[in-house]
Amino acid sequence: MLTKRIIPCLDVKDNRVVKGVNFLNLRDAGDPVELGKKYSDEGADELVFLDITATLRSNKTIVDLVEKVAANVFIPFTVGGGITKADEIGILLRSGADKCSINTAAVKNPDILRESAERFGSQCVVLAIDARRTPNTTGKWHVTVKAGSEPTDIDAIEWAQQAEQLGAGEILLTSMDADGTQAGYDIELTRAVAEAVNIPVIASGGAGTLESLTEVLDAGKADAVLAASIFHYGTYTIRETKEFLQQHNVPVRPV
């Protein structure tokens, strides 16, 4: 049986892991190479590295850092942040990434998903969606770009479906309303997207209590959960998280 995945996320800025609330008020959370190795050794199921300054394409230092993190990570490793062309995915894959996440560039030019999937395979093309609840409506979310700073009029669920058609192999879905708040994932959003597509959905934004992880994997129908603060600041270890999920009948890979 396929297990649900627990994925720590390294938000990286100036070669350090940082974490903020709703992408603001950043605080230091450690060294990406050390943290990556730690999570890989402790039994995390995957690792995500996001360059929050979105300079992957132009910044050799970041690519070198990806290489250093990858050298010690023996679980699937996703890298994203400012990718604008399929060629850049080629560079990151050669640096040790297994998958790449694309966000703003795909909104501007959806064809990048098709081209990347054709060249490198759908399994390494992750579409990242930063979704925000559309004011004064229920059950509607719109896509935001540029790290959540710029709203669009694109419907998040329709966008997820379109991305699947174009060849995305996975969706990394962040609730901008919940991100960094530790108040729980947006269950309604996650479920709506997971039910609308056949590719895996990673829920992100709002991880707080272990109950909130259970809820989004169960009621939210997510295939995986992404979390940052709760792991970086030691609220829970990967082992504690998995043991809790197991006790609540969520299938996980034992540590």
Partner: protein
């Protein structure tokens, strides 16, 4: 010396990182002379198998010759899918034909997400050398939309459940293959690679 065959399909970096981490003497190459000198071969690969077969075609004969003369070969993911007779991913493609069987899509009518992405339990067949010291089965990291239907009386098959029973890994004499990514399957995956290195070493001293 082991050779990771780099035929230009996806990244060989993760595989190289893992072999280096376990202290193995690894060379990355697609030069036929180096492939001939190797004590063991690793055929990685991601993406579509038809495209991969096209790219591997110029060195297909040397890979087959070396393997049929007894050199250990480990195929990983799409590299593993190339070991079979043919693949039905986007058309029909002849593959290396080292193991009887064909690569077909995972059925999409089972209300399961495709790709089959993440960690699944793999149950080993009896006495598979690739899984030495790992017990009856372990979890490994998968990322596949196609799987191999093995049709070869000489092959031992490890299985995984995803709506139907899928082939997780195969072993036939000196030919080994894993649908999952051992290089991305934490300690148990690294043990699989260590086992392959031991197999190559034994072959050398025989």
């Amino acid at each position: 010396m082991l050779v990771i065959i780099d035929y230009g399909v996806g990244n060989v970096r993760s595989v190289t990182n893992a072999f280096r981490y376990i202290g193995s003497d690894i060379t990355v190459s697609c030069d036929p002379e180096i492939i001939q000198k190797a004590h063991g071969l690793i055929l990685p690969g991601v993406g579509a198998s038809g495209y991969a077969m096209e790219k591997v075609a110029p060195i297909a004969e040397v890979i087959k010759q070396e393997t049929l003369s007894g050199k250990p070969l480990l195929g990983i993911c799409v590299g593993y899918q190339l070991l079979f007779d043919e693949s039905h991913e986007m058309g029909t493609h002849q593959c290396l034909g080292l193991i009887g069987g064909k690569v077909v899509p995972i059925p999409t009518d089972m209300d399961l997400t495709i790709p089959h992405m993440g960690w699944n339990y793999v149950k080993f067949a009896d006495s598979m050398s690739l899984f030495d010291t790992l017990g009856d089965g372990k979890h490994f990291a998968f990322a596949n939309s196609y799987y191999a239907q093995v049709n070869d009386p000489d092959a031992k098959v490890a299985t995984t459940e995803y709506g139907i029973t899928l082939t997780g890994a195969v072993e036939k004499g000196n030919i080994y293959g894993t649908q999952f990514h051992p290089e991305k399957s934490s300690n148990d995956g690294l043990q699989v690679l260590k086992n392959f290195v031991s197999i190559c070493r034994e072959e050398l001293t025989c």
